[in-house]
Symmetry: C2
Subunit: 246 residues, 2 copies
Amino acid sequence: MRNIKLLIEYDGTNYIGWQRQPLKHGKSIQGLIEDGIKKMVHHDVRLIAAGRTDAGVHAFGQVANFFTESHIPAERFPLALKSMLPSDIVVKGAWDVPEDFHARYSALEKTYRYIIRTAELPSAFDWRYATHVPMPLNLGEMKKAAAFFVGTKDFRAFCAKGSPVKHFVRTVKKAELTKDDSYIYFEVTADGFLYHMVRIMVGTLIEIGRGYWHAEDVKRILASMERKYAGPTALPQGLILWEVKY
Amino acid sequence: MRNIKLLIEYDGTNYIGWQRQPLKHGKSIQGLIEDGIKKMVHHDVRLIAAGRTDAGVHAFGQVANFFTESHIPAERFPLALKSMLPSDIVVKGAWDVPEDFHARYSALEKTYRYIIRTAELPSAFDWRYATHVPMPLNLGEMKKAAAFFVGTKDFRAFCAKGSPVKHFVRTVKKAELTKDDSYIYFEVTADGFLYHMVRIMVGTLIEIGRGYWHAEDVKRILASMERKYAGPTALPQGLILWEVKY
């Protein structure tokens, strides 16, 4: 049995998210790619993704794998799928991998980026990819706050309520903010992320940036272990699954 | 009577173009902005634009003006219109101008940009803003060709058939190509443009870049004064009305 790994880029704006759901809920990225592969290999396939991104969330470096008996050379998949997928989903690469490769469980670390546009007015070109926060944000204080995310910690306070996971300890390796013109970029790398973790981090950083909280409040929020003490869940459209390392 | 000048940015993907048309043809950018202004000033307005961009063409710096008796301060229009317009149309500025200012006739020069993506695969994020030409293009030869566009010339061969204009002489002040990673940018500035002129220039430059013609063929095409000798009309989605100077 061949195991094929795909590198995938998508604009999540028009989809219900990565995960396939009953069709009445709308189109999923997983569903569209699976349907495309099925037409090539002539059997049902099930894609396993590194991260099941939510509606409106994008990916620059999503990774997924599937099993097939087909003899189609792996490198043929990107161009063949191009003609079967809409313009906002692109399979950028495909490789044969060992049978025990699992896009989610084999991942060593994932990196997400979140883009905030701080200009007074939105842009007609980036509203899908950046969240508009038209207010002055204190970048220095936000950077200090982000530093408190780094390390092996219980991130329960940064996990959406109702999430079925039982273990909330994650190791954040990097949590950095940079500014470029009217944009603030948040880049965070961890061995894994809880549900809505990055968006709650960003919601919290915005509260700190606008002066409602101080950087040190992150310590208090982490220690509380309660979702309600963290900031709001930032909008999905600034979030991009950037890279997955194995 | 007040005359108000607007600076406008839009993603033209979902519109039939700048120009208002009977509603059955779809939504126009002009129509949506006029409807928004009407709600503010309580009378019909007619926007005069610097360039009536086609369906799928974008603007970073479109300029338009309209007359009103309203006393609303000009600087209030951008934020007020934000709530009335879709995310892909943004009024970036508004100023009172003399009564004889005409967005089209007062323009001294306009600049368009055209973006070509040359990577083998398209991108999920820029397919609206760049035309995908997945083949090696000879940038040096294209640059030489673009230089032949500069000057005061009869551009009849670069004008779509059926255009009602009678004078085909235009002065191109700048026609430059730059490359950045997987993208080629064509920037062209002129005192005015004929219908489809930039897109026919780009279609011609691509033919030269892929080796079908040489740079010197531009001289032959210009001299022919016949549309049929120029290259095909490049797709609209790489074209952006970049700046208008007065």
